[in-house]
């Protein structure tokens, strides 16, 4: 979480010693681990059954867990050849705002919401035919 806050990102890519991507830790997944599953499906139950200190306890329990217990192991990747619309479609479909860019099985970069934002701003520029 410190990494996410310090670097102002909402996710991190988990790699092994050979720089192969093994998973993604997203803010959504960390947040999901701090509340009971039932609350995710029923927000009103979360409002009706709150115990003071419960959230802090859940965060404390999560603090000592390994990254592997919350990371996503199934995720989309893109290659350098993929176009921006395919990447945007992935973002929207999977509710995940960090997509690893893989080339020859190695992590070469990531695409985040900032890149999507910049792409949209670029797409909305005046005189798009001049480029």
């Amino acid at each position: 979480m410190k990494e996410l806050v310090e670097h102002r990102v909402n996710g991190l890519v988990v790699i092994n010693g050979q720089k192969q991507v093994k998973g993604i830790v997203s803010l959504q997944d960390i947040a999901a681990a701090t509340i009971p599953r039932q609350f995710r499906h029923n927000i009103r139950m979360a409002a009706a059954m709150y115990r003071p200190g419960f959230f802090t306890e859940m965060c404390q329990q999560l603090k000592d867990k390994p990254v592997s217990s919350v990371m996503r192991r199934e995720f989309v990747t893109v290659s350098l050849d993929d176009n921006i619309m395919a990447v945007t479609a992935d973002f929207l479909k999977n509710d995940l705002y960090i997509v690893p860019v893989i080339e020859k099985k190695q992590l070469v970069g990531i695409v985040t919401r900032s890149e999507i934002k910049k792409a949209i701003v670029y797409g909305m520029r005046d005189n798009p035919t001049e480029s």
Partner: protein, 442 residues
């Protein structure tokens, strides 16, 4: 007895055994097994007669049970819609506040909430609603998991015998045999109340150390607010009365028919009410059919109606009935004991739906042979419900409850659960036999 059996009888038995093999081992989904079993029997001409095709005769066993299928579908939709109001969760949270979260009282309260919800809304929807609430309570209040999962599973199962609408198999039996709502409540329902007291006392005794060791402070539940669980006040105001009206009509349908000549059946009542609810609340039919109707259960029943129907069509059921009567020398008290205890024990380990459907036909065959079978209906109904609480896999509602617990990393060991639950199955089965014997045979 065996002279009536033909090659088709043995094919029917073989298909049933294959179906049971896959039900027990869970190597294939049970719906697939039941339906493919039925199709196999039809293709092998098991149902063929001189005046009808194999399919026509087989489908007769389905068409005869459309009321049951319609009732199950209607209730799934109706309870699913009313559930969106949050009223059931609010009721559970209100009970938690009432007992101040104290583990012993909470166990009793949640157990009886489960029992009475099951009586009118059936056990699977009840468990789908209450299991999430119980699992949150286990985590938040650091309650011991096993006692609370045990009590809701036990009460959901025995509650299934309480009224004709509390479980599809109870309704199947009531409908097939012609037992009224009042008869089921006066016979099964009263015994269920006795069993609920025994089961609660058993749980309080067995889990007394775990319950006493858990301390819940008043401040832990101080911010619990049942009103906040209400999600949709419009559904609460309109949907809940529709559901209650449906239940009242199902309870009083015999009286209504007697007084007014208007005949109502459960499928019409529940399908009518649920589709009216879909209209009133502007629900998308497609999402209702996809999300609220458990088509696996529906097709599982359809398959079983054909598979067990084959046993009836080929005289296997008649032979089974004759064998049971000869085994007990036609003595009703021995049959009562065998069915009460045997149903309880068997239902712990095997899916009770095919067993129940088979035994209903067998007892009907006994009745046709001149035997008085009235107490046996209650022994069967109660025995299969009692046995359903015996193991984590014995009934669909158990699988749901323990499956949700697993997702919370709450693991209930099969043998540990069986060691706690099976003695209660035997006690409850014995009490059932004793009460029925005292009432009808003494």
């Amino acid at each position: 007895m065996l002279a009536e059996l033909t090659i088709f009888s043995f094919i029917s038995i073989a298909v049933l055994m294959v179906v049971y093999f896959f039900l027990i081992t869970e190597k294939l989904p049970k719906t697939l097994v039941a339906v493919l079993g039925g199709v196999t029997l039809i293709i092998m001409q098991v149902f063929r007669s001189t005046d009808a095709t194999s399919q026509d005769n087989a489908f007769h066993f389905i068409s005869h049970n459309l009321d049951i299928l319609g009732f199950v579908i209607g209730m799934m939709i109706l309870v699913g819609i009313v559930r969106e109001s949050g009223v059931f969760e609010a009721a559970a949270i209100a009970l938690v506040k009432l007992v101040k979260g104290q583990p012993t009282y909470l166990l009793v309260a949640l157990g009886y909430l489960t029992l009475f919800m099951t009586a009118f809304f059936s056990n699977i929807p009840t468990i789908l609603i209450l299991a999430p609430v119980v699992l949150v309570l286990i985590r938040e209040l650091k309650l011991p998991a096993l006692p609370f999962l045990f009590i809701i599973v036990t009460m959901a199962n025995i509650g299934g015998a309480m009224t004709p609408i509390s479980d599809p198999t109870t309704y199947y039996q009531a409908k097939t045999v012609g037992l009224s709502f009042g008869e089921v409540v006066q016979n099964s329902g009263l015994i269920v109340l006795i069993l609920s007291v025994i089961s609660t006392a058993y749980a309080l005794l067995v889990f007394r150390k775990d319950l006493r060791a858990t301390k819940v402070k008043a401040k832990d539940i101080a911010l619990f607010d049942p009103r906040k669980a209400i999600q949709d006040r419009y559904i609460l105001k309109i949907g809940l009365p529709i559901a209650i009206l449906s239940i009242v009509l199902m309870v009083l349908k015999e009286q209504i028919a007697h007084l007014t000549g208007v005949t109502l059946d459960n499928a019409t009542i529940t399908i009518g009410a649920s589709f009216a609810a879909i209209l009133i609340f502007h629900k998308e039919p497609r999402s209702i059919f996809r999300n609220l109707i458990d088509w696996e259960i529906i097709f599982f029943f359809i398959g079983l109606f054909v598979v067990v129907g084959a046993l009836e069509f080929t005289s296997v059921i008649t032979s089974l009935a004759e064998w049971l009567v000869s085994l007990t020398q036609g003595r009703i008290e021995w049959l009562l004991f065998l069915i009460a205890m045997g149903s309880g024990a068997l239902s712990t380990f095997i899916d009770n739906v095919p067993y129940n459907i088979t035994m209903v036909s067998a007892i009907q065959a006994m009745e046709r042979s001149g035997l008085w079978v009235y107490p046996l209906w209650w022994a069967l109904n109660l025995g299969t419900s009692i046995g359903g609480a015996g193991s984590p896999i014995a009934a669909a509602c158990n699988v749901i409850a323990f499956g949700q617990a697993e997702k919370e990393k709450i693991h209930v060991n099969f043998m540990k659960y069986l060691a706690v639950a099976f003695p209660l199955v035997m006690i409850n089965s014995l009490v059932t036999f004793a009460v029925l014997w005292l009432r009808y045979l003494r």
